[in-house]
Each structure stands twice: as C-alpha cells, then as structure tokens.
Amino acid sequence: MGLPLSGIRVLDLGSAWAIPIAIRYLAILGAEVIRIESCARPDISRFGTHAENTTEGRFWETGARFNHINVNKKDITIDLSMPKGVALFKELVKVSDVIAENFSPRVMRNLGLHYEVLRDIKPDIIMLSSSGFGASGPWAHYGAWGMGMEPTAGISHLTGYIDGPPMKAGIPYTDIISSVHGTLAILIALEHRRRTGRGQWIDLSQNEAAVQQIGEAIMDYTMNGRVQGRMGNRHPSMAPHGIYRCRGNDKWVVISVSSEEEWKALCDALGDPPWSREQRFRDGLSRWRHQEELDRLIEEWTISRDHHEVMHTLQQAGVPAGAVLTPKEILLDPHLRERGYIHKLTHPRLEGMELLGTRPYLGMPWRMSRTPLSLERSPLFGEHNGYAFAELLGMTQEEMAELEREGVIGNRPLADEPTYWGAATVPLPVLKELGYIEEWDENYHEILGLDG
C-alpha cells in the first residue's frame, strides 16, 4: 500500500506558518508538495533562528523554522509579480491537484489567480485560502499575524494568572490551530473529489478555527450570559490542580487530582503526612476551598525532588502528574523517542552550509499501522526548479536560462543578508542576559547524539 497521498501534487504558495505547516502534514503523508518562493521574497521562516546561531554563508538554507516546516517538500522559485511568473504558475496548476495559499484575501485576485481562474485552467482543482478572518465580511482585509489572533479569537481573555492580565502563548498559536484544520479541510475536499470528481474552494478563517477551541466558554455565554475569565493553572472543580516547584533551576511538575482515590494515592506517595488528615482537606470541596494552603504543603515535598522523579513516583501511585518539559527535554524525552516522534535528518554538506549537518526534528502527531510515515530533509532554495520546469513542464535548458536571466526564477535570494527584523543573531550569553533563553549547552551536539 502506497503512502496515503501518493500521486497527489500540491502547490504550496504559503508563507510563514499557517499554510506551510498544514501542507507539511500532506507532504509527510506522501503528497508531492512543491513549495513556491521567489528570489525577491524568500519565506520569512528562513530567517531568525540559524544553525550554530550564525548567518555566515548560505544563511537562507540554515533557518531552523523553515527546515522544520518544509520537510518532505520540493522547493521552486517563481516571481509572481512578473507576468511570465504568473503564466508559469498557471502551467503548474494544469498538472496539480491542490493549491494552498495564505495571502491576505485581495492578493490572489490582484494577481489574477483566484479560484474561478484556476478552476478554468484545471476544473477539478482544490484550492485552500487561509486568512486571518476569512475571505468575506467587514474584517476580511484586516491584517492578521498569529500573535494578534489568539486574543481576537477569545483565547487570551481565558488565559493568564488569576488577577493578572490576559496572556498570549508567546508563539503564533492560532497558526498551530488553523494549520491542522487546513490539513483536514484539504483531505475532506480530496475525498469529496475522489467520489464526485469535483474540486472546490476552501475558505479557512484562522479566527473561526481558533474560536472552536473555546466552544464550552462560548456556550456558557450563549446559554447563561456568563463571561468566563482566567483561572491560571487552577481548575473549576479539581484540587489540588496546579504547578509545583522542583529541585533545580526553573524545574516544575504539575499535579491534578480528580477523585478521592487519586487523593488517597497522592497522600500515600507523600508518605501520609499529618496535614493530609486535617479537616480542611477532608473532601474534594474542602480541598478546593483551601487549595492555596494545600499547594504550599505539596510544594514542600516537591521542592527537594527532581521533576522527573516526582512525576514517575506519583504516576506509579496512580496520580496524574507531569514534568514541565523544556524544549530540550522534549527532544530527549524517552517516551517520544521510543515512539519514533523525534527524527534525525541530514542536510547536504554544501559550501557555506557545512555547519548545518544532522539535526533532530519533531515528527508526526499520529502513527498509521499500514502506511508508516517518515521524514525527509527540507529542500534547498529552488532545489527543484529543474524538476518542475524541465520534467513537469517540458521546458528546455535554454528556456530556463532565459527565465533565470529575467529574474522570474533563480536559486538564491536577491538579498545578501536576512531580510527580517529578528534575523540578527544575538549571542547566546546576551539572550540569557535578556531572559530569552534559560541556559545553553556548549556540547548540545553531544547531548543530542549528533555526528561531529
């Protein structure tokens, strides 16, 4: 049995996160994904976090985010601001199944590449347009970066310390939400096409996908007129339910207790301390009312212990508990490793990118028994121009050379340095001083078990 999407060709016009991540899943599922960038505007995810924290050499190939998001894809360049670029893109549409883009809604229309046009070129084409607020409505043209969408969708108002202001995740969180909804939308449209032969246009609003995630709070408003607020790490009924400091620098464990049985197991694991038998902790409601004192007492026990050790001890006793894993601990986590979630990929050792080498990447959040999925390294900039233009479209070397001279295609960005505000590589000690990183490991290659 081939991979689920073998034989499907996807043109990925996305930028940054939402669409490229949605299409990443399709690429890993076996679709042939052709990522389209241009020399004038390489994707911004190429810049900002670079291998060995340097932008020397081929800096556009060493961006961490791009190399994660674009695994299993091919990469070509077409400048769509040029008429020849638009014509070239239309040729590719003729031999493709899916087109995905996350420009603001007016862009594709201005380029003359909106769905109605593409459908005339390829009648059963499936097109996904992902935007902040969707393609219609009074806010359709509003600017939307993931960092601002989490509050707009109502999530931030429900997130934050008790009595503190609303908080954001610190990453473009709604891109994560809408990307997987984008993947789902395309798969549904593909199944519909398989059955009916018809393509369609998908209008995905990042705002609407994100509102899904707070459905029960929305219902509380529509049913009861109640506007829910922030609970920090607490829970409306469980106690204890929170985070506890452990031994070491910025190490934490979370514990949640939902039943009398789990409470007894927790007390057992803590060595049956006298306070656990006090009246104020006698039942769930009493514990919930006195959770601040309870939290302090539990932390007296966790503070001298390793966060992993606390998790294992409590779990063996039957108490839900989890170490608060750092990004480093995620990469080293024995559970994720045993499940094959962490993949090591090796990049080509080309001049100017020798430092990239082999790196670990996060994989797929699901496994398939009959069609196991695997990861392949992200493509180089314009690496597959030859494949797309010569093999798929039958162009000659001369024709391609001419397009290159005219700047329609190419295999390196025009800019000599990263073109993005965050691109400046700040030395790790400065990042630590500013509080952007907790610590750093000189020997992280060794820690991650990488070659050389």
């Binding site: 806010w139 209008d203 894993l325 979630y341």
Partner: protein
Amino acid sequence: MADGALSHIKVLDLTHYIAGPYCTRLLADYGAEVIKVEKPGEGDGARRCGPFLHDEPHPEKSGLFLYLNSNKRGITLNLKTETGRRIFKELLREADVLVENFRPGVMASLGLEYEDLHRINPKLVMTSISNFGQSGPYRDYKASEIVLYALGGMMYIMGNYDREPLKHGLSQGQYLAAATAAAATMSAIYAQGEDGPGQHVDVSIMEAVTEGIFWPAVAYSYSGGVPRRRPKVGSVFDACMPTKDGYVAPVFYGYVDWDAFSRFMDCPELADPKFASHADRVMHSEEFAALLLPKIREWSKDELFHAAQDWRFAFGIVNTTEDVVHSPQLRERGFFVEMDHPVAGRLTYPGAPFKLSESPAQARRPAPLLGQHNEEVYGRLGYTGGDLVKLREGGII
C-alpha cells in the same frame, strides 16, 4: 441542499469527553453519518461537565456535551456484556470508521482490539486517541489537560519571566488533538480509496500539544540555547495592553512602518532613532513601554483595534466570549448556528471551522439525547420493538 463531502462515510463513535467527540463532530459537520455509542444510564462523562444551561446540572443540558456532539445520532450499548459486544460487532460490519478514546488497553480488555475488528471488517479505519499514544513508557500514565500541557512542552514556554509556567485556558490540547485525529482519520480513509484495506491510526494528545513548540525545539537543536517563557527584557512586545475598557494586542512582528506608527499613536517620541529597529526597541523596552502604554490607555479597545487596522497595523483585540459571540465579522460570515434541542431548547452554537464551496458544512441536528436513536439504529439492524424492550431490561441498551 447539497450532500456533505463525507455523506458516504459511516462513523461508529465510541468517544467521550473532548478529544474524541470534537474529532467526530468535525467529521459529522462535513456530512459523515456519526453514531455515538454511550454507556446505558450514564452516557458520555461530558454530560456531567459544565457549563450547564441555567447552571442546572442535567445530562441533557451540558454546554460542553451539546457543543461537541451536534450532528451525531446517539445510541446506548453496554460493551461490558457479551450481548452488547455482539451487537457492537454487527454495527461494526456497516461502519467505515471507528473512533475511540479509551485508555490504551481498554479496547483489548473488551476483546475489541484492532486486529479483532479488522477480521470482522477489513475496510475499517480505526482511530485511537489517547493521552500519550498506544506505545511508549508513558502509555499507561494518567493525565489531565494540565499534565498534557506540561509534558507536551507548551507550558514551559508560557507565562511571565519571573512567574511559574502557565497553561492556556480550557482544554486546548484536547481540541488540538481532536482536529489532528480528524485529519489523521481522513488520511487513512483517503489512503484506502475505493476498496483498499483500513488501518489503525494512533493519535497522541501529548504529541499534538508538542507540535506547538516546534520553534523552541528546533531553536535548541540548532543552537543549544533553551528558549523559555516571556523574557526579562522586551516582554512588552508580546503583551496584551490595557485600554480604557479592555485590552488590545499590538503586533510588532514582520515589517512595521515605525514613523507611521508614531504618528498613529500621536507620540512623536516613538520616532526617536533609538527605537529604529526591533533590536533597538527591545534594548529600550522600558522607555518604549513608558511612552506607549499611556497612549494606549486613551482609547477604547474597539476604537483602537479598528483605527490601527485602518492604518494597516495588524493589532489584535482581547475579545471576551461576549465580544466573540457579537463579532460583526463572525455574524456576517454566518459562523454561529442555532439549533433546537428537545430538552435544552433553542441555542446558539459555534459552527464549522472552514467553508467548503461545493460541499458546505451543515447544522443538521442537535446533540442526541441519551439513547435517542436506539429504535432507528437497532431497527435498521433488524431488531424489533420487543427485542429492544428485552435489551433494555437486560441493561444492554
């Protein structure tokens, strides 16, 4: 109206709480015929979770349950009995998909492991959603939303510099995993084509959460630095800022025309060259905040949000659930749907997450009452009214 995209797909839904039911609701929204199987008498645990209509705990009035189970039919069946399992296998012969989110091992203990079910129906796609997946050392660990957020890595990167890590509000991880599971299920359905074999899909909620921290993770694997939550210096750039009547969330990401921004905020001091680049602004973030925050406070949140957008600054606005429900954007796009429920009455629900031009999502029916469709579904299998009475007396349905 046109058929839904998935109107040819029959889903047997053994799920409860959030991660399973949101997955099958997504499939149901786009047309799949979903039959939700609940435990007789009790039903899905979500029926006992708030918010309740008028705060009155009642198994047919849970907002969580009503939201996550619309567009499904509902039957009851006791899988702990031999007869229950036999009937379940009859249902399974007709199904294309089975989705379950029991703890790993529960299906096996009922004699309903994938291998057994595959023998009964080789075309079956079975999706299992669990906290940590069907394998690995944490497989049998217990979890709750906060545990998954901690182990999934999202918690460590959220919160203030000098405070403890923080989880997102509500049950974000379980929703993410549910949408992931719906995509995973669809990938297996598409893989089998016209009549290929089904397969078993193993979805881990922890891993769905971990997808959210890919950037901090690759940052470590590319440089050895361990990213953490909001920094000591410059966290104002990621803050929700107070206005007269709520908060806005300015975004200083990508390209910002800084001169225009200082004009827009009526704050010429912001045009000072010391704020010229993002790095400059970070290094002078305290001064920056002292200049900007009083200006932000002069506005109401709605006025500032729309004015900023008119100037093409991609501000976000901190919306409450009330604001979301009354959002003119969501209203105009017909995002919310209304449905009549026999017990809970007419209520407004968030609708489907994306619009398909040829096969749109439809609000076809409200969430089922416990066992509402027993007659219809078992009737199709050939059970008579008399049979059902016996099954009910035997505690099977």
